[in-house]
Symmetry: C2
Subunit: 527 residues, 2 copies
């Protein structure tokens, strides 16, 4: 989930100077407009140590009109606070309507600290996180805008940053990794952070993960995100900015000059023809065996294929279905929903095809349509696709908890490669049916799709269900990477104990077996 | 919480016959209108054993047009179901838009069974309930109407009902109390049920608790509740019922002929003057000592007074403040909110006055205004006061978990007694300021207030924060009952270990003390 905060984004001094000026003007404008509304704005500032949370808050105070902003740090409780219910201190910090409160850590600080230090279990943490979700929802229903920032950086960057800090600065933070166990602690903290963020990332109060390695990039991104969040709320609210004053041309929300995870893919990767042939043969044989083995061990598999048009999903899927016995898999091409499907919740059509124990379902496009095509084409409203991230995460958690092996592929190609393939398709008669007017129209929306894909990957790359990004310009390379990933996932899953199929019960593995149980064939090799 | 399902409501054969006919007509009308909307309706039928859930469902099927209704019982899982994630079976049962699914138990059955049989802990149960809340919210956001019925009856009624049933019928249910431990099991089941209902009673998917002792009352109430729920949704949706056909005069939602918890109060209760004087003296002395004792033990107290106008709240509060040292309490009269209070969430003004450790806050009217005057006068929208029940329950849970002694009073008087007091007030010069035009206007809304009060008591009588209903026609009797209740609560609380003040942390009682801790005076008697 934090991969996107480690790509090394930065902003030059010159760019910073130019953008900052514009940003300040616009922030002041929205702040002025905010004052005439009944919207209280709560900004939460959290993240790893040494990410510069204090610097960011100072910057915001510099940029905003301080008359409408208050900042609160929650150091040790005062005796006034200690003697009251824990949330009393947060209620004291609530902004009145039309104003902004910036909270360091806020209600997230204690739960994260406690879990990190082992003072509470995951289950206790989850309980607290649920209270937080309820609490935030209550505020949002009352009209509040909640903007939650999480600052993150790579292990190396954090180490370097810590070195810069004086001893004094460091002693304040209780979650500072010990030097000797830095890596271990870094990873443990990340794990807690992911749990907290995933659990509390709701459409109505989303987290924004900010790469904190470069100070200029960090501050500008925070400013723009806040600007955009307030502006969207004002728009919903029907408030015109700046009350009559002409507004400046709007700053775009995302910075198209910045690299993303997708840009980091080396699309030049290729596989020589001979290697492809031999690898394909070997991996298909392995997959065939693994699929039977999974059947015998009653482990189900769900494969999800998403990717740019003409990215090669179909070809990759065919290399899988060639290998697996036809009785063991089902391939579901996802196109426009049927009438019956439209009459249900959007997840219903995917639940229908969840495989029985031991079988495999391959989704050629999937529930991610909600946050891709439906978002870009406007088939789903903003609040619909925004809340879909957590709906999807919970859905996938159910699949994985029930013992299903879930593998998700995003196949990426370059714009040039897509153009080449579109033209090829038009030239070859038997491929012509694969290319339509719509494909060309979609192609024009490449930047919007890119933004949607990036956000999708950031918000739905979870520990239990990560994305495999596939470099797709070279088809042989892509197909082999897909096959190998599936084989690895199955190998890993089948090593373990037999199918749990019980995780999603309140009583964990105490699920009661049906009388007699189910006989399990133990044929096949254990590959 | 279940008191309201044990008051012995019933419907005569004649009334049933008349009302049933009207109800059926109207149910068919709304069902027809429903078909043209995109609203799927999910009806969940749960409750104690032998409450007649099957009979109710049969009745609904008889009343409704079966072409738009499907019924699902979730007996043992089929092998098809067992081999998939647990919720797959529920997704199969989802109604398409415009139709109705009636689910026996639904997603509540397994968690309740498991907790009752001790196969999971409270924390595990809560985790599952949170998943349920998320799941239901997702469906509601997609347009679904969820109507959840819980059938309940007194221990005696259940015992009698079970006797009627043949051995066969009984063996299906896994939570049947053993004969020898009936009372114990009845209480244990009630405790699980309360936890489940409180946790999952949200404004968007509320529970309806139905008294199931009398079959005719039960079935009619279910029918009317369902009718009203669908009708409200259609109204929001702007759909006209029955598509042009003139609709019959609407059946009222609540049955004013039915007795409620408030009607069960014996308002004739009175206390002779001499007894009052001696009791008052004794209890005030006791309370004085208890308040000091609470101070020394750092236990805080919150008293909430609500009641009909002229019910005698002020007089009862004065008998308390006379007894308690002025340094130890604060009395907060709650009237219209200030500008500053209006600029915040409605709970903010109450959080402000939460007492420090060892002190007492007396709220003369309280946060319950949201579901009383604000509801009746329309100051809060329907969705606002509907979701306030669970907001309030969670707020009070925080108070109690932090160690606060919370006592809530509803002082009830008869309509005649109120009239007498209003007239008295007008007659006595120094009392005249207490009576305004508004009081007379409120009086005209007695039935609406009665309905609001009843729903408030049912939905916010929790194990951790129950209501004390006070028979208020005789002031001496009411004042003594209030004083005694406060003394009892403090005695009970001060018996225990010192103030926990830690319950609301994720790590439970592992809260870290500030260095040195706080010295606690141990003066005063231990009452």
């Amino acid at each position: 989930m934090f991969e996107a905060t480690k790509v090394g984004r930065s902003v030059s001094k010159q760019d910073y100077k130019e953008q900052q000026e514009e940003l300040r003007t616009q922030l002041l404008e929205v702040q002025r407009a905010l004052r005439y509304t009944n919207i209280p704005v709560i900004v939460l500032v959290s993240g790893v140590e040494a990410a510069g949370k204090g610097e960011v808050v100072n910057r915001l105070n510099e940029w905003l009109d301080t008359r409408g902003v208050q900042t609160f740090a929650f150091w040790n409780e005062s005796d006034e606070e200690r003697e009251r219910p824990r949330y009393w201190r947060f209620w004291r910090a609530m902004p009145p309507r039309g104003e902004i409160s910036i909270l360091f850590g806020g209600w997230y600080q204690t739960p994260i600290e406690h879990r990190f230090r082992g003072q509470c279990s995951d289950a206790e943490l989850d309980g607290e996180l649920n209270r937080i979700v309820d609490f935030e929802r209550m505020l949002v229903q009352d009209g509040a805008l909640i903007v939650k920032f999480w600052f993150h950086m790579s292990e190396a960057d954090q180490k370097a940053r810590l070195k810069e800090l004086s001893r004094d600065d460091r002693s304040r933070w209780k979650m500072l990794p010990e030097k000797s166990k830095f890596s271990e602690h870094y990873a443990a903290f990340e794990q807690v952070a992911e749990r907290v963020i995933l659990h509390t990332d709701r459409g109505s109060a989303p987290w924004y993960l900010i790469e904190a390695g470069d100070r200029r990039y960090r501050d500008l991104t925070v400013g723009k995100t806040l600007l955009h969040a307030i502006r969207s709320r004002l728009a919903e609210h029907g408030a015109s900015e700046a009350n009559g004053t002409p507004t400046s041309p709007k700053l775009p929300e995302s910075d198209s000059a910045q690299i993303t995870l997708l840009d980091q893919l080396d699309l030049e990767l290729a596989l020589p023809r001979e290697d492809y042939k031999s690898e394909l043969k070997r991996l298909q044989a392995e997959l065939n065996e693994l699929a039977w083995n999974a059947y015998n061990k009653q482990r189900s598999t769900v494969l999800v294929f998403e990717g740019m048009d003409a990215g090669g999903k179909g070809g990759a899927i065919r290399r899988i279905t060639q290998a697996v016995d036809a009785r063991l898999y089902r391939s579901i091409p996802v196109a426009a929903p049927t009438d019956e499907e439209k009459a249900h919740h959007y997840l219903w059509r995917f639940w229908r095809h969840i495989p029985r124990a031991g079988l495999m379902t391959i989704y050629d496009r999937s529930w991610y349509g909600r946050v891709l095509v439906e978002r870009v084409e406007g088939f789903a409203g903003v609040s619909e696709w925004r809340r879909a991230y957590s709906e999807i995460n919970r859905f996938e958690e159910q699949l994985v908890d029930s013992g299903i092996v879930l593998v998700k592929f995003w196949i990426q190609i370059s714009q040039d490669e897509q153009l080449k393939r579109f033209k090829d398709r038009e030239a070859v008669p038997y491929k012509r049916y694969k290319i339509t007017e719509e494909d060309w129209r979609n192609r024009e929306k490449w930047p919007q799709y890119k933004e949607a894909v990036n956000e999708m990957i950031v918000r739905t790359s979870t520990r239990h269900a990560g994305w495999t990004l596939v470099e797709g310009n070279d088809k042989p390379y892509a197909r082999i990477k897909v096959l190998r990933t599936v084989c690895d996932a199955l190998n890993e899953a089948l090593k373990g104990p037999p199918a749990p199929m019980a995780g999603y019960l309140p009583c964990g593995d105490k699920r009661i077996e049906p009388a007699g149980g189910k006989p399990v064939k133990n044929g096949g090799s254990s590959g």
